[in-house]
């Protein structure tokens, strides 16, 4: 099967999965017992007000019609209206999303970085106390509730040691705005492009402002280390197992017989073979990452999607929650798709 066929097939397969997930979200919010509108008001309003409210949100239509509207809206990137002020949820989602993305990327980097390094060390000292300690560390890090770890981090590094900030995304006033590039000529009425991703680290680079970059990193430290640590356990185990398996293979013995240095063998021979499984695992862990992000963002007041959901819970804004959760579903599907395609591209068996 060629790469192109695989990619097309895979994209086509994603559609039913996304559909299923979105339906699942719909079922949870609309079909389960519990009327979102009543819950919102907590039975504390006039029936007329409730009806008017219901009507404005389109929640009085028959269920199947709501379902169609829901899907149709999503196709147009309409994630519904907030119960709080009827404003489009999509706006809020898209402004909060980059923060979560940035957190996710850095946390994944931390997790994979720590995971592979410790995994290699663990494999090298197979069956020694060092190996056992690292393995236990992996198990323990997974068992710690991420918000608890976050709080401990805040206390230790933020309050006691005062090295790092305990909340927020950057120093007030240091939000990067990206770069404005003037076009040499007018292009459909556009005179300049605004180069900004919403990721503070990248945007501050675009802007050419090292101070903003440093601040952004400082604020990223604790949350991404927290989330990354909790996630690292899986990678420790994966790397360790992969390394142990690869180190037993004939070509490793043959390499040793040629007198190659241990470092070369471990990194260039064994670790390279583990690369693909790690990539796959990164994709699989993305969902876990998102779950952890909700708690992490809440703990560190990180203005991302996770915290958005948290605040919406407080406001009993169920339609907004539905929109956000639907967004999560789409994100997961897309990431899974990207990882699969990347894997197919890199796997020599499929490529060659």
């Amino acid at each position: 099967m060629t790469l192109r066929t695989y990619v097309i097939t895979r994209i086509l397969l994603t559609i039913p999965m996304v559909l299923l997930l979105l339906t699942l979200v719909f079922v949870v919010v609309r079909v389960l017992p519990g009327d979102p509108v009543l819950l919102h008001f907590e039975k504390r309003a006039d029936p007329e007000v409730i009806e008017e409210f219901r009507h404005r949100l389109g929640l009085d239509k028959p269920l199947w019609e709501q379902y169609v509207d829901y899907l149709w809206g999503l196709l147009h990137l309409d994630f519904g209206k907030s119960m709080q002020d009827f404003s489009p949820v999509s706006v809020q989602i898209f402004s909060a999303f980059p923060a979560t993305l940035e957190l996710a990327i850095f946390s994944m980097l931390v997790a994979v970085g720590i995971g592979t390094l410790l995994g290699v060390e663990s494999a090298r000292s197979y069956n020694t106390p060092k190996d056992h300690t690292i393995r236990i560390f992996g198990i323990v890090s997974y068992a710690i509730p991420v918000f608890f770890l976050g709080i401990v981090m805040q206390i230790v590094f933020g309050i006691v040691l005062r090295w790092l900030p305990t909340g927020g995304r950057t120093y007030p006033g240091m939000e990067p705005v990206g770069a404005y590039i003037k076009l040499p000529f007018e292009f459909f009425g556009i005179k300049e492009i605004h180069l900004a991703t919403g990721l503070y680290t990248i945007d501050s680079i675009f802007e050419g402002n090292p101070m903003k970059f440093i601040q952004a990193l400082r604020y990223l430290c604790l949350p991404s280390i927290t989330l990354g640590l909790v996630l690292s356990g899986v990678f420790i185990r994966l790397t360790r197992n992969n390394m142990l398996e690869t180190l037993r293979m004939d070509f490793v013995t043959a390499a040793k017989a040629r007198g190659l240095k241990e470092r070369v063998i471990i990194y260039s021979y064994a670790l390279k073979n583990s690369f693909l499984p790690i990539l796959t695992m990164m994709g699989l862990q993305f969902a876990t990452l998102l779950s952890g992000a909700v708690l992490t963002e809440t703990t560190f007041s990180w203005p991302g999607l996770g915290r958005y959901i948290f605040t919406r819970i407080g406001f009993r804004d169920y339609t907004a929650i539905q929109g956000a959760v639907a967004f999560f579903a789409i994100m997961v599907a897309i990431v899974s798709l990207i990882v699969d395609i990347l894997y197919a591209y890199l796997d020599p068996r499929i490529r060659l």
Binding site: P36, A143, S291
Partner: protein
């Protein structure tokens, strides 16, 4: 190769197995430690009310926000309640919710897994697709969505947590069944004309049980952590009795002032989750030794 042993009696058998665990090396130790931790936690929860120095619900047992001292080993909270007593007595809700959700998971997930994979065909494909979708979804987010819709309460929380983990049981049962289904002795049984029900119960199920147990223990740990997460986010079970989860939630506001309010209950939750995780990880190592030493 799967072992099909019958334990020698309900008490003696497991005790013998427990004692032989350390021999199995690192994995055996981990399981043993895990079991000890879990048992200690359960015992503490049970005898907690009898050994706590103060009434965990009583206000003003000491100064408000008192740091840990000889009088209040774990300090006091914003209501003057003694934290040590609250910690000793606070495990019941969490354990109950976790137990309930694991049970629900088990009761629903395992049979569906068994039947779906055994019968196969389109039904199996559809159910697998549904299960895979749920499995792929960020667990906590889904749990939040469900819990929020169902409303607060222990049973609702247990239900929301259960939904996320049903796919785990489903998958493990399914993968085992698919392997066993192809084995010779199942074919032989069919040839004799055994009914499907019998085949499932007597041939397939016993071999699936070890894996289910492993999944269940890890599930337990996850359930505890998810429950803690939900509580932390404000959707905890509202009870009058002391509850670690609730201390977590209230303690959050007072972190800079009185870190001990959130710290010790949190520690207990970690220990409980850790205990189960140890058991689960150790068991999975024992049952599927991935790498043997030497050739």
């Amino acid at each position: 190769m799967e072992k099909e042993e019958k334990p020698k009696g309900i008490i003696v058998g497991p005790l013998i197995k427990l004692a032989s665990l350390p021999k199995e090396g690192w994995a055996g130790w981990i399981v043993l430690v895990g079991i000890i931790i879990v048992l200690s936690m359960v015992i503490i929860t049970i005898i907690g009310p009898f050994i706590s120095p103060y009434d965990p619900n009583a206000f003003h047992t000491g100064p408000l926000f008192a740091p840990p001292s000889s009088e209040h080993l774990f300090g006091t909270n914003h209501l003057g309640q003694d934290m040590l007593s609250r910690v000793l007595c606070g495990g019941t809700t969490m354990l109950q919710v976790a137990l309930l959700s694991v049970t629900i998971c088990f009761i629903i997930g395992v049979p569906i897994g068994l039947f779906s994979s055994y019968i196969g065909g389109n039904l199996d494909k559809v159910i697998s697709l549904v299960m895979d979708s749920i499995y792929a979804f960020p667990g906590l987010v889904l749990a939040i969505a469900i819990a929020v819709m169902l409303g607060k309460g222990a049973v609702n929380m247990a239900l929301s947590i259960a939904v996320i983990y049903i796919p785990s049981y489903f998958r493990i049962v399914r993968s085992q069944v698919l392997t066993i289904k192809e084995m010779a002795y199942v074919e032989a049984a069919k040839a004799i004309g055994a009914r499907n029900r019998t085949i499932l119960a007597r041939y397939i199920l016993p071999n699936v049980i070890p894996s289910i147990v492993t999944v269940a223990t890890i599930n337990f740990a996850d359930a505890i952590l998810t429950a803690a997460g939900l509580t932390f986010l404000g959707w905890g079970v509202e009870v009058d009795i002391p509850d670690w989860g609730w201390d977590l939630y209230y303690g959050r506001q007072y972190i800079s002032k009185a870190w001990w309010i959130i710290f010790f209950p949190g520690l207990m939750i970690i220990l409980l989750a850790l205990g189960f995780t140890f058991i689960g990880e150790g068991l999975s190592e024992l049952l599927n030794p991935r790498l043997r030493e030497g050739k």
